[in-house]
Amino acid sequence: MMPDSVINVVLAGIGGQGVLKASDILSDAAFRAGYDVKKSEIHGMSQRGGSVSSDVRFGPEVFSPMVPPGCADFLVVLEETQVEPNRHRLHPEGVLIELSFLDKAKISNRKSLNVALLGVLSGYLDIEISFWLEAIRAGLPENLHEVNLTSFEIGRQAIGSMTRAD
């Protein structure tokens, strides 16, 4: 089932944490699910340890590739310090997805935290699980598939066991 309006997701963190990889996987999953998709971010200076954010929008038809200010339905943040600088991007009724949603002890490889948070996000989105799994496999080298698929599942489970922030 297609949502009849555009879903806006902003992913944020620090250079090197896998923000852009996570947004690649998300946009690929939405693409495989048949949506119109646009994804936008800034390359260059931002990769030198500075703040990084990436916008992903999908739905029946998307025009601007940038999530308009204050319109994110979901804000996914990979590092605590980046919540406040990005909070203004979230819609008042939007959902903030952050590391505290996860039992970090269960995530064996910290480098897969980005995919674990996608697991949390997946619980909110109308994208079939098979498309997520295909996108994770397509986006990562084979030796990282198992750890990331496990992290994705941990994130996906996390959502059932908690009370939503809103």
């Binding site: 998709v37 500075g50 703040s51 025009f63 601007s64 590739p65 940038m66």
Partner: protein, 541 residues
């Protein structure tokens, strides 16, 4: 090449795919955000891609190849077109029998640039057709259209992209196959290709006649689209601004221009007459609005406030509402910084502690301007560190002049520092001068691209290598010192102090590979050695 019929591509990837499908025989350019990935992707798809030392050389090589009746793309960021402007303007006179597409990737909002110049001005100034894609699908379609226009009218074509078109991933679902490229050959045509004044005068008239012809064609060209809507509000727009505007004003009527030079003024006039209020939505300078108003067609210009930075849906809404109150600045994120363990750090600590006047340059090391270093006093454009440093030396009293140091990266040095070094030798300041090349063995800022100083081509294969030390010595620079500033910072500092007091011309090379590149460089070197051993075993050397 087999490609699926629905792809999620960045604008840069879409340009590369179109170029490959069109049989482009050469892609050349100089790395620069947001253009860099075009040539890397073109190489990945099997095309011949080359990094040139700078954009001027890239365009000259591209022009030469297109004079052999072949298809060529030349890529650069917006400020690169300044460097390439000399051949660009006269290439409009010579024209080209092949296809020459010059891709200018502009950076409104300056995500990673020193200015936000609007390169649409170049199309008018040089007299070149210009196309502006607004999505990856259009990046694909317009690259093919640019090739066809270039071949039909024998002119270079400017494909003007912006950061959000280059780097956004959007869906490409229609992959048209272009007509095949011809086999390269050269045909003598002295009056067209040798721009002495006697031949250049008629060439200028020929250029204007071609542009007039293209303007006529553009009146009905499929590159420009009308989206019918409410006649109360009409919006004329192009490029990424179209996407923001469609979302901000979904009910409005649109004239979306794909080819913005030469403009289809009759079409624009008819559109303007069909709506009550007509507004031009554009990023950067009010270039389009001014051009239309200069023709006596009444359109509304955006407010001055929106000349600055990128547009987005919200800002377009405010343009429509005439609301120029400045938006509150977004909360600051973490600024970029030199990586932990970056070899440039030691040099900037020393420059800071010695209170040097540092003429800086463009690259990762420009971050030496930020705390905890704050050890850069000027940064203007590629290569300016040397010229600006020399100018300061000429003007300042000797005791002050002796504090001046020029700091430049290895890729930047090859791009635009060589002539600066020649100037240093030719117009020597009384107090001499000290140039430091921060040689980390890669073009780090744009994502670790090769350059002529690394001795490896775009695809990391061994090739001729520019030797900085030999070059400097050949100019007669007596003091040429190569050091690893991280191994023994105290010696580096001592040498720098001596050099500053020496009144000599000095080139110091602070050589240590970029942390991010070091393991890759070792890999390339190992592969090159294996290849050489293999060639020897086969008796090919």
């Amino acid at each position: 090449m087999i490609v699926p019929d629905r792809l999620l591509l960045s604008g840069n990837e879409a340009v590369a795919l179109a170029a490959r499908k069109a049989g482009v025989i050469l892609g050349t350019g100089y790395p620069g955000t947001p253009s860099t990935e075009i040539l890397e992707e073109f190489h990945r798809l099997g095309g011949r891609s080359q990094w040139a030392p700078n954009e001027k050389v890239a365009l000259e090589v591209g022009l030469g190849a297109s004079l052999a009746h072949s298809r060529v793309i030349v890529t650069m960021k917006h400020v690169g077109v300044n460097v390439a402007a000399d051949p660009l303007f006269t290439a409009a006179y010579t024209g080209t029998p092949g296809a020459l597409v010059v891709i200018s990737a502009d950076d409104p909002g300056m995500a990673s640039s020193q200015n936000e110049q609007d390169n649409r001005h170049f199309a008018v100034a040089a007299g070149l057709p210009m196309l502006e894609p607004s999505s990856s699908q259009e990046a694909f379609d317009f690259t093919l259209a640019a090739i066809e226009i270039s071949e039909r009218w024998h002119l270079p074509v400017l494909l003007r992209m912006t950061t959000r078109v280059c780097h956004s991933k959007t869906i490409v679902h229609s992959l048209r196959t272009p007509h095949p490229a011809s086999h390269p050959f050269f045909e003598e045509d002295i009056p067209s290709l040798v721009m002495i004044p006697a031949y250049a005068r008629p060439a200028h008239r020929k250029l204007r006649a071609r542009l007039a012809d293209i303007a006529g064609w553009n009146e009905t060209s499929p590159l420009n689209q009308i989206i019918e809507g409410d006649s109360g509000l009409g919006i004329i727009t192009s490029g990424i601004s179209y996407q923001h505007a469609r979302e901000a004003a979904p009910g409005a009527s649109f004239l979306k221009l794909g080819m913005t030079c030469p403009l289809p003024f009759d079409k624009i006039k008819t559109f303007v007459e069909s709506v009550e209020r007509c507004l031009v939505i554009e990023e950067g300078d009010p270039w389009l609005a001014d051009a239309i108003r200069a023709e006596g067609i009444p359109v509304e210009r955006k407010l001055h406030e929106f000349r600055f930075g990128e547009l987005d849906v919200e800002r377009v809404r405010r343009i429509i509402e005439g609301d120029a109150t400045p938006a509150p600045p977004p909360p600051g994120g973490r600024p970029p910084q030199l990586c932990t363990g970056c070899p440039h750090r030691s040099v900037f600590e020393i420059l800071r502690d010695l209170h040097c006047i540092v003429a800086g340059d463009i690259g990762c090391y420009t971050l030496g301007v930020l705390p905890p270093f704050q050890a850069m006093d000027t940064c203007v454009c590629m290569g300016a560190s040397i010229g600006v440093g020399l100018g300061l030396r000429h003007a300042l009293p000797p005791e002050e002049a002796r504090r001046v140091v020029s700091v430049i990266g290895d890729s930047t040095f090859v791009h635009s520092g060589l002539t600066g070094l020649v100037e240093m030798v030719y117009n020597r300041p009384e107090t001499g001068h000290v140039v430091i090349i921060l040689d980390n063995g890669t073009t780090a800022m744009t994502g670790l691209q090769e350059h002529p100083g690394t001795g490896r081509t775009l695809e990391h294969s061994p090739t001729g290598k520019v030797n900085f030390e030999e070059f400097a010595r050949s100019l007669g620079i007596g003091r040429v010192q190569t050091m690893d500033p991280t191994r023994d910072p105290a010696s580096f500092e001592k040498a720098l102090v001596e050099n500053l007091q020496s009144d000599d011309l000095v080139l110091m090379i602070a050589r240590k590979p970029c942390l991010l590149a070091a393991s890759k460089i070792r890999e390339y070197e190992r592969a090159a050695q294996e290849l050489m051993a293999c060639d020897c075993a086969h008796g090919e050397n």
